[in-house]
């Protein structure tokens, strides 16, 4: 994972509450087998008209937000499905940081696994950022994880809180699994002491191959 230390970039505003992960990556794109390439489909149904023509009314298609890399959002960002395709799409599109008053739990977690920094600010601070983004074409902020502050070069400076462990992992780009495997001995000890094998007491999982599923009769 790429470390996140400090990022400066143009802000794009997604001015809606409760943006769910179905909107970020609609279901038809959940069949891909890799983590790459989801940037093209981010906010697909909002972003494109039939024939994948960019919808000029959708904010990310406004020329002024081209190349934006900081996503400004509203409350409960990323609710719904656990699909990690959502943060993959966010990152692949070019967003490295998100600024919002609150996030859904699973999405918030998933961001950290992908080197995206989801910053939590107050509603008033988010309102101010929306106002400044609207007012200043090319509005740019710097998100500094080391100093835990968002600044804009126009006098705005918002300190933010973040769990120290998560911060450390992002700053160093640490591999979660590697971190856990350091404690292999403890995991083994736990298994020795607690583990029960799942036993199949009755044979299951016979195949249906030999008969025609009844569903076929009705279709």
């Amino acid at each position: 994972m790429e470390p996140f230390i400090k990022h400066t970039g143009v802000v794009a505003p997604i001015d809606r509450v409760n943006v769910d992960t179905d909107q970020m990556v609609p279901k038809q794109f959940l069949k891909l087998l890799t983590r790459e390439g989801f940037g093209r489909v981010l906010f697909y149904d909002w972003r494109y008209m039939p024939g994948e023509k960019p919808n000029p009314e959708f904010v990310l298609n406004f020329p002024r937000y081209k190349g934006a890399s900081v996503c400004l959002a509203r409350a409960n960002f990323g609710c719904g499905s656990s699909r990690e395709h959502a943060p993959w799409a966010i990152l692949d599109y070019g967003f490295h940081a998100i600024l919002a008053p609150s996030y859904a739990d699973i999405f918030y977690n998933n961001c950290f696994k992908n080197g995206i920094l989801p910053v939590t600010l107050t509603n008033a601070q988010i309102d101010e950022l929306f106002a400044r983004t609207e007012k200043n074409v090319g509005y740019t902020v710097t998100v500094d994880l080391e100093k835990q502050v968002v600044t804009d070069g126009l006098g705005l400076s918002y300190a933010f809180e973040i769990d120290p462990f998560r911060r450390d992992c992002l700053l160093k780009g640490l591999d979660d699994i590697g971190l856990t495997l350091v404690h292999e001995a403890k995991i083994s000890a736990f298994e020795e002491k607690n583990h029960r094998h799942p036993v199949m007491y009755e044979a299951v999982d016979v195949k249906f191959h030999s008969e025609t599923p009844t569903a076929a009769r009705h279709n």
């Binding site: 509450v17 409760n18 769910d20 179905d22 909107q23 609609p26 279901k27 038809q28 959940l30 069949k31 087998l33 890799t34 983590r35 149904d45 509203r74 409350a75 409960n76 609710c79 719904g80 499905s81 656990s82 699909r83 990690e84 943060p87 609150s102 859904a104 699973i106 977690n109 998933n110 696994k113 992908n114 769990d163 462990f165 979660d176 699994i177 971190l179 856990t180 404690h183 403890k186 995991i187 736990f190 298994e191 607690n194 094998h197 799942p198 036993v199 199949m200 007491y201 044979a203 299951v204 999982d205 016979v206 249906f208 025609t212 599923p213 009844t214 569903a215 076929a216 009705h218 279709n219």
Partner: protein
């Protein structure tokens, strides 16, 4: 020692390592995977040269993208075929047991886990699917995870997790006739909003919850995530033990008795404290119908589509306005006057035998409205399908003009060809009414199976309490 909640007990029993200021390392008892969110996790393992640590604790099933029609035909969707082949290959290489699309035990992951007895009280259970909260109905700590976390569990059988706060969601009194677990949980989400449970684990308590079958409890826990809570739980009791006894992965005889004795230690202690409590009077509940684009936008069937201007908060006003535009609904419209295009009875929320029985009772001897384009019943698993057919439910549905399908996620998520066309409106027993959830431009109203069944007959919503076939009272 201070009293502990059900959540505390399970959490503490699974801590492998804890350090101040760090998330805990938690052992995972059962890991469920499906074709939708696991391929990248296996690919990640391979890239890093890692192995699946405990393949016998992971169970795989094909559910999200499977056809609910004739599965003996070749899979024409090349992308879906790629997912199936990847899951087959990954399971074969790692030794994970796979219930493939031809297995008699195939079904939606959250239906088959409990059905086979893989899900048991006191366990930690995870799956790359937000509706993993379903399994909490057994008094397990179960929640959805992302693909990176799937990879983490595969490699280590553990997860690094921060503890959650607990909220007691207490249903006092009995639920009235025509009111089901689905209406109970929709009422909760309507009350607290879809982010109201963020950071919490819900524990559902009270007389109306005790009175629910395991099927009903699963429906409630299933939609905990729609209220923002990653997990929902119900303390195990005799209903739980009776459900589990004799299931394929549940021990027999003396060992079962021992297990039950342990399960009986799990319920929350009388002196335990929750971080929050929400009290709901079950007797005041009514059948619920969503009118907007998230499950919190919900009202009673006898009500009207709300006027956005009636919302105090500016954000809610704007969201409601937007939702009504998307849903093509006018404020003040009676819920019962909303006409429908399709009806879907299925999903991990409401596709168990009890759901199908309740719906069948409503449609028996009647016929689906001519104004409807489609009415679909998709059993949650092949085992449910077989049981339903043994009772003749399939014949009732088919005679009433419903299509009777094979098991899978189907029209809840529309990853196969069971979708709404743009602008079409459904009554659906599923869990999400987000924009485009059931197909681009789809308009979804979430309801209970009885309400969906009655709506299919009339072509619009009806108050199931007015029908003699309405069940639900204890």
């Amino acid at each position: 020692m201070a009293g502990r909640t059900l959540y505390d007990k399970i959490w503490q029993a699974h801590v492998v390592r804890e350090e101040p200021g760090q998330p805990s390392l938690i052992y995972i008892d059962r890991h469920l995977i499906h074709e939708g969110t696991s391929p990248q996790a296996f690919a990640g393992l391979k890239t890093a040269g890692r192995k699946v640590r405990r393949p016998e604790l992971t169970f795989a099933v094909m559910d999200h993208s499977v056809s609910t029609k004739n599965r003996l035909l070749p899979v024409v969707d090349a992308d879906a075929r790629g997912q199936f082949e990847a899951l087959e290959r990954n399971c074969a290489e790692s030794g994970v047991h796979l219930f493939d699309m031809h297995s008699k035990n195939q079904g939606i992951v959250h239906i088959i886990g409990p059905e086979l007895g893989i899900t048991q009280p006191g366990q930690t259970i995870v799956c790359g699917d937000s509706h993993t909260s379903t399994h909490g109905a057994f008094g397990a700590l179960a929640f959805g995870i992302g693909t990176s976390e799937i990879e983490h569990v595969l490699a280590t059988q553990c997860l690094t997790q921060f503890g959650s706060k607990t909220m007691k969601v207490d249903f006092q009194g009995k639920r009235p006739r025509g009111v089901t677990a689905k209406d109970m949980i929709l009422a909760v989400i309507g009350k607290i909003g879809i982010a109201g449970g963020t950071g919490y684990v819900f524990e559902y308590t009270g007389e109306a919850v005790r009175g629910l079958s395991m099927e009903g409890r699963m429906t409630m826990c299933n939609m905990s995530i729609e209220g923002g809570a990653r997990a929902g739980m119900v303390a195990p009791d005799e209903t739980t033990f009776k459900y589990l006894e004799g299931r394929a992965f549940v021990p027999r005889g003396k060992e079962f008795e021992e297990r039950v004795a342990f399960w009986k230690t799990l319920p929350t202690d009388a002196d335990a404290k929750y971080d929050d409590t929400l009290t709901i009077l079950a007797s005041e509940l009514a059948p619920m119908v969503t009118w907007g684009t998230n499950p919190g936008m919900v009202t009673q069937v006898s009500e009207r589509v709300p006027d956005p201007a009636s919302f105090k908060d500016a954000v809610d006003r704007e969201a409601a306005t937007r939702a009504l535009t998307y849903m093509d609904l006018k404020p003040g419209t009676l819920i019962e006057d909303i006409p429908l295009d399709r009806v879907f009875i299925g999903s991990c929320t409401n596709s168990r035998l009890e759901d199908l029985r309740l719906a069948a009772k409503v449609v028996a001897g009647k016929h689906v409205s001519k104004s409807l384009k489609q009415a679909l019943v998709v059993p949650g698993s092949r085992a449910v399908k077989v049981e339903a057919e043994a009772e003749g439910l399939d014949k009732i549905f088919v005679a009433a003009g419903f299509e009777w399908r094979d098991a899978g996620c189907s029209m809840c998520i529309g990853m196969n060809d069971d979708v709404l066309l743009s602008g079409e409106r459904s009554a659906s027993t599923s869990n999400r009414n987000f924009e485009g959830r059931q197909g681009k431009g789809s308009r979804t109203h979430l309801v209970s199976p009885m309400m969906a069944a009655a709506a299919a007959i009339e072509g619009h919503f009806v108050d199931i309490r007015k029908w003699s076939a309405a069940e639900g009272a204890e």
